[in-house]
């Protein structure tokens, strides 16, 4: 049995348990790869639909694979509200930035034109860092730095733009898959008799 019964630690452990399966890492990774593909193949319109499809796929995997193994917890309403606001805020922030970029395509000043993609990728890095802070998942700080490194590399080292998305996206997806495999090994599905002891 665990020795540590410090409530702050327990709270942290409970929230961390939500991210231990690596699914959000995979989601972020695929999202970035999707951006890379849409830039590479000029398929910007596909992005929105793909993002929604992946999001619902992740939720379905959570329900079908994760909860039967790690159990299900309902967070306190205040914390749930906080999480919703962070996700909504991050989404609106990125959407606003993208819409601004599309509508201002012909009128934006030259300096913004030169640094537009650098600023866009930096914004993504900031959002990833903020999500890491709010969700208390420290590895997302490293993700934010990798995304930012991609922004710097495509701006000043003349790395192809799509690689600034493919490389971080690939790293996060692979790490997420590693976490998911570790999770599945650590938490086999409990058998029915064991669970029946409780209910």
């Amino acid at each position: 049995m665990q020795e540590n019964v410090d409530l702050k630690q327990i709270t942290k452990k409970v929230y961390m348990s939500y991210f231990q399966d690596g699914l959000w890492d995979i989601l972020l990774g695929i999202y970035l790869i999707g951006w890379g593909i849409s830039i590479w193949q000029d398929l910007v319109a596909v992005m929105g639909g793909m993002w929604v499809a992946i999001y619902f796929t992740v939720l379905a995997i959570k329900r079908m694979v994760v909860y039967p193994r790690s159990g299900y917890i309902k967070l306190n309403e205040a914390r749930k509200q906080q999480m919703r606001m962070v996700i909504l805020g991050a989404g609106l922030f990125l959407l606003g930035f993208a819409v601004l970029g599309i509508f201002a395509f012909n009128t934006r000043p030259a300096w913004l034109d030169d640094y537009f993609m650098f600023l866009l990728i930096t914004m993504i890095a900031v959002v990833v860092g903020i999500l890491g802070y709010w969700w208390r998942v420290t590895r997302w700080y490293i993700y934010a730095m990798i995304v930012f490194a991609g922004a710097v590399a495509q701006q000043w080292l003349k790395m192809p733009l799509e690689l600034g998305f493919f490389i971080p996206g690939g790293v996060f997806s692979m790490y997420g898959i590693g976490l998911l495999i570790g999770f599945l090994r650590k938490y086999p599905k409990p058998n029915r008799e064991e669970q029946d002891v409780i209910s």
Binding site: L7, G71, Y72
Partner: protein, 109 residues
């Protein structure tokens, strides 16, 4: 003769809730205190208790009214969740306060 300080300390000790004082039950209460509700698998995974132990401690907590089983739905299927009752929440906070006071009043602390 006992000093007033040690009498106080004895009071704190005797007032400590023995149901929650058991480490496994304290741990279960601690996890339920930070959530709205959780299922048995979650508690088993987090506490590391065996299914049998978890079951007996939950029964004890349920019998004194600190924990309640509630029927919920997960993916449109009925799902049993465990929830700390209002009484349980009060008892848990009271226990923590009493323990803190008892430890602070210990001679030499």
């Amino acid at each position: 003769m006992l000093s007033p300080d040690s009498e106080n300390h004895d009071n704190y000790i005797t007032e400590i809730d023995r149901i929650i004082h058991e480490p496994a039950r304290y741990l279960i209460m601690a996890y339920l205190s930070v959530a709205e509700s959780a299922d048995a698998i979650f508690l088993q995974r987090q506490t590391g208790l065996t299914w049998g132990n978890l079951s007996s401690h939950l029964s004890k907590l349920e019998s004194v009214g600190y924990v309640a089983m509630v029927k919920d739905f997960l993916d449109k299927k009925p799902h049993t969740m465990l929830q700390m009752t209002e009484e349980g929440r009060k008892a848990f906070h009271n226990y923590r306060d009493k323990m803190k006071q008892a430890l602070e009043e210990l001679p030499g602390s």
